[in-house]
Amino acid sequence: MSAAIEVRVSAARMLTPVVREFTLQACAGLLPAFSPGSHVQVHLPLAEGKLRNAYSLTSDPADIQHYRIAVRLQEASRGGSHYLHRQVQVGDTLQISPPANLFALHSTASLHILIAGGIGITPFMAYIAALEQRKAHFELHYLCRPGLSDAYVEALQQRLGSRLHTYASRPDLSRILRDRPLGSHLYTCGPQPLLDAVRQQAKALGWPTGRVHWEAFNAAQPGQPFDLELLRSGRRLRVGIEQSLLEALESAGLQIPNLCRGGVCGQCMTRHVSGDIEHRDSFLSPAEQADFLMPCVSRGCGPCVSLDL
């Protein structure tokens, strides 16, 4: 794994009552360049242990002086967004992982159709900067609640004009997806029900799956605490209510490859041997789940889980 990057919060502002934007600067040297759609993991030192949440980079990829992320306050979450909203101040330093991209633009698309739901606007902010520089054809459909989850909407109206379509409630997706030119690619990011609806509608209208790209806004959710037995080392660990299984392994010093921390990229796949599992990923097939789990999101739902680690 690449070493973490130390950054300083150089600015912070509320975009809406529930979305806070952070501007980050490298504490030393330049930040690594990144491609549109990339995310970083922000390391959050909470009292219960270290969490790591993934956030899309919203800034212009051409600008390597700054990164920007936008964080929605999740009341029912484990405390990562709470910490970023309530604790972090301008001038504070944070650790972030280097950018990684699991939601890249398709380089040969003739038209890019972007559908964002709420905080799902974030990767598209970097997309739009890159698409404008490439003079590519694109349009943005933005589903958001006015005054609550409509981050960046005024700036986007000025910048995009008729290429921006905003909706206060779920639009008729078939009107967006029907009769689009050959070579169009569709990208969607936002809450799971929106992604499901977009993918279903695209399928019903005959879109090839390779032209439909999506990024879920998954993060580890809290759950019951449970014990962990590591069969190869014979160690026993405890996974707390707010901790993910992956974070518990990392706190114990284990290095598990990972990128998305949302159960989609497949990097942290681990074999489980005994114990009841609550699978929360969208990577493994049901057959694979019999032997493997994704520790970034999935948990034990009994007293103890043993892993082949």
């Binding site: 360049a33 759609g37 390779g210």
Partner: protein
């Protein structure tokens, strides 16, 4: 190493290319056992063994000026050795940045890079190049960015676009290929351009390698060695010039084998390019004659066993069938058990 003073040697016509004893000692002899079969022999490209070819991300050695002169000759004759499809412009700038940053950091005695925002100043004292330019603006360079930097770095470069869960050869600068052609492979997917390789497909090598490369992360490059044989120290053994070198394979005799047959080893480095999300595949070629090779303890013996036992389809693919017997017999004198 005295790169500045070294005379320019040739990779064609009179073939004046030679390795110094230091270059022979650091030659990447690729065989770790007495036999060879395909494997996904990929490792993290981290710096190791100071002085070796693994010390720096892009190795500059005593052949620098000769190799750059050879590249200029090939490009002048055949501009199609350079190709950048329209959607690969960002990747080309990515490649320029990666190469300039590595060279300036690893070889400050020869290369320097000063950046003020988008205004960059590049100096290469080995080739007397002093260039101010605007990063991202091709009109501020004497030629396009990949060609500009490619004419100053040893090795070939292919830029692979990642889309549809695959990699596509959509840009590159390739003047020293081991019998493959960028113009022919342009636009092909990973498995399409590897389709001539025998046996490896059935072994699942390319499925595993592709999956690995699709997950390559910025700042975590990987590398591997590949090898073949070449008659004479000819860098440009491309299909486009087959008429110039193909017949050489039929002219190997017991008398000339030690001088003319060369082991050709490629150090391949694969790196994720940060802005474009493309993969840079660099191929740095090292050549060594059989005479030079057998000066190193154990190398002649091991190469004898590898070539003697190499499966026929691999020997055919590597183009050695016409002279393999002559070469194996010549090498057998270095194998105490032969």
């Amino acid at each position: 190493m005295t790169i500045q003073a070294s005379p320019v040697q040739s990779y064609r016509d009179d073939f004046s290319f030679r390795n110094s004893s230091a270059a022979i000692r650091r030659f990447p002899f690729p065989f770790t056992e007495d036999s060879y079969l395909y494997s996904v022999n990929i490792e993290p490209a981290t710096s190791r063994d100071p002085g070796s070819i693994y010390q720096h991300g892009f190795d500059i050695d005593e052949h620098y000026r000769s190799e750059m002169a050879e590249r200029a000759l090939v490009l002048d004759k055949d501009p199609r050795r350079y190709l950048v499809l329209p959607h690969m412009q960002v990747a080309a700038w990515d490649a320029l940045q990666m190469l300039m940053e590595h060279l300036a950091a690893d070889y400050p005695q020869w290369f320097s890079l000063v950046r003020e925002g988008d205004h960059w100043h590049w100096r290469n004292t080995l080739l007397n190049i002093d260039q101010h330019f605007v990063f991202g603006d091709a009109t501020s360079l004497p030629c396009e960015p990949l060609e500009f930097i490619g004419r100053q770095v040893q090795g070939d470069f292919a830029l692979l676009d990642q889309r549809d869960g695959d990699l596509y050869m959509d840009a590159g600068l390739v003047t020293s290929p081991a019998d493959w052609s960028l113009a022919f492979d342009a636009g092909m997917s990973f498995k399409q351009w590897h389709s001539p390789v025998p046996m490896a497909h059935q072994m699942g090598i390319f499925d595993r390698a592709l999956k690995y490369l699709l997950n390559l992360q910025v700042g975590q490059p990987v590398r591997r060695l590949n090898w073949t044989l070449t008659i004479n120290p000819r860098l440009d053994s491309s299909p486009e010039t087959f008429h110039e070198w193909g017949a050489d394979r039929g002219r190997i005799t017991a008398e000339n084998v030690g001088q003319q047959v060369h082991l050709r080893v490629e150090l391949q480095v694969m790196a994720r390019l940060p802005r474009s999300n493309a993969v840079m595949f660099s191929i740095r070629t090292y050549l060594i004659s059989m005479q030079e090779l057998v000066t190193q303890s154990g190398w002649g013996c091991r190469l004898h066993r590898v070539l003697r036992d190499l499966p026929e389809p691999i020997a055919d693919y590597k183009g050695m069938s016409r002279y393999r017997q002559t070469l194996v017999e010549w090498l057998s004198r270095f194998d105490p058990q032969a």
